[in-house]
Amino acid sequence: MVKILGISPESYLMTIVLVSLFVNIVISIYGILARPSLIKKIIALTILSDSANVLAIYVGFRRAVWYPKPPVVTKLKPSPEDIVEFTKYAVDPLPQALVLTAIVIGLAVTLFLVFLTLQIYRLYGTTDVRRIAKLRG
């Protein structure tokens, strides 16, 4: 790898991705805590869970080869040498399976929150948490 001023460009570009993921997490946590509308809180919660999923896939990437391949065997009748060649280039498949489960569970929770918000609006007439906190019973 060529180094410019002591930094290789590959590691610099990968670090940009990592830092921007953390900035996304910070902005969405601010959005959950500081915005008064229930619907804005739901939007920020979906952004937070998506950023955590991208972080999990980023950890499973493979840095030392150009260019890594998805974990799918492409020959229909492989020999043992083909499998060894496959393991030299493939990405880690375990974080992808866990992120699939995480996406489905996040979807279930968000859909239930949407129904709860709709029922709150029908009963109390507002979706502003400051006005809901002032109601008594």
């Binding site: 930094i7 610099y12 940009i16 569970i105």
Partner: protein
């Protein structure tokens, strides 16, 4: 806060990210997060996912991620489907008892314009075909049960928006039918996970595991991994089909619950509050 303030903040944040990552990369701090050498667990999954010469230690599916989701860690996926089911049951419980009488909404021209209706009629079969292709090839290429189900759930959303809620209910897509279809899909998943057990009881094999796909050294019974020339991968294809059915029915149920007309719901809630006052 005007546009200029927001543009300045965005430019500042972007430059700060670029400069800060320059500082971090020059000190070599985050160099170890995507590793240089692969992990031992990842190598084990990649080496045993499709090896036809060694039938006792393989999942016989060329797609690594689907093999992990339904074979190596199949119990996780069964419980994830249960979590989605509990969310659907909770949403049905919130909107219980609201009945829309079909004659109470005026029969004006329902839905969007004729251009939107013709375009939807043309595009719905294409989406259904794509979703079936994604779901049925889940063990060979990227895809699978949930991917195909989520793509096919877009079809009902389109029909609900472009034509109207009354049109959909009159054509037979009602809440109760979707609940039955969802339960049929989950029953299918439960039965397929016991399939190796049933086959072992017929052939009198002493030891077998639940959710077992291929023969193992201790439990030498499994399901066939190919039928004729095509690759089927045991239980994976049946899991994908039943999961697609369950996901489509579940999402259609949620859209139907979300699109009740608001005047009807308001009338129902007012009647219920009045009945509550006279009773208690």
């Amino acid at each position: 806060m005007s546009w200029k303030v927001h543009a300045v903040i965005i430019a500042t944040v972007t430059t700060a990210i670029i400069v800060f990552s320059l500082l971090i990369a020059s000190r070599g701090l985050m160099i170890s997060i995507p590793l240089d050498t692969p992990r031992t667990l990842a190598l084990w999954y990649l080496r045993t996912t499709y090896t036809p010469w060694n039938r006792n230690f393989s999942a016989m599916a060329p797609e690594g991620v689907t093999a992990i989701v339904w074979d190596y860690r199949g119990l996780d996926t069964v419980f994830e489907t249960c979590v989605l089911y509990f969310a659907i049951i909770a949403s049905v419980a919130i909107m219980r008892d609201i009945v829309i009488k079909p004659g109470s909404i005026q029969q004006r021209e329902l839905g969007l314009s004729i251009i939107a209706k013709t375009a939807t009629r043309l595009i719905v079969p294409l989406i259904v075909v794509t979703a079936c292709a994604i779901a049925l090839h889940g063990h060979l290429t990227p895809g699978g049960g949930f991917q195909g189900g989520a793509t096919a759930a877009v079809v009902t959303l389109l029909i609900l928006i472009v034509f109207s809620y009354i049109f959909t209910v009159e054509r037979g897509i009602t809440k109760n039918k979707m609940l039955v279809l969802r339960s049929v899909g989950l029953l299918g998943i439960g039965l397929v996970s016991l399939a190796a057990l049933i086959v072992a009881l017929i052939y009198n094999v002493p030891k077998v595991y639940i959710l077992q796909n291929q023969p193992k050294p201790i439990a030498p019974i499994g399901l066939p991994y190919r039928i004729g020339p095509s690759l089927v991968s045991g239980t994976l294809i049946m899991f994908n089909i039943f999961e697609t059915l369950a996901v489509v029915a579940g999402f259609t149920l949620l859209y139907l619950l979300l699109s009740y007309p608001e005047e009807e719901v308001r009338r129902y809630m007012v009647e219920e509050m009045r009945a509550g006052e006279t009773h208690g």
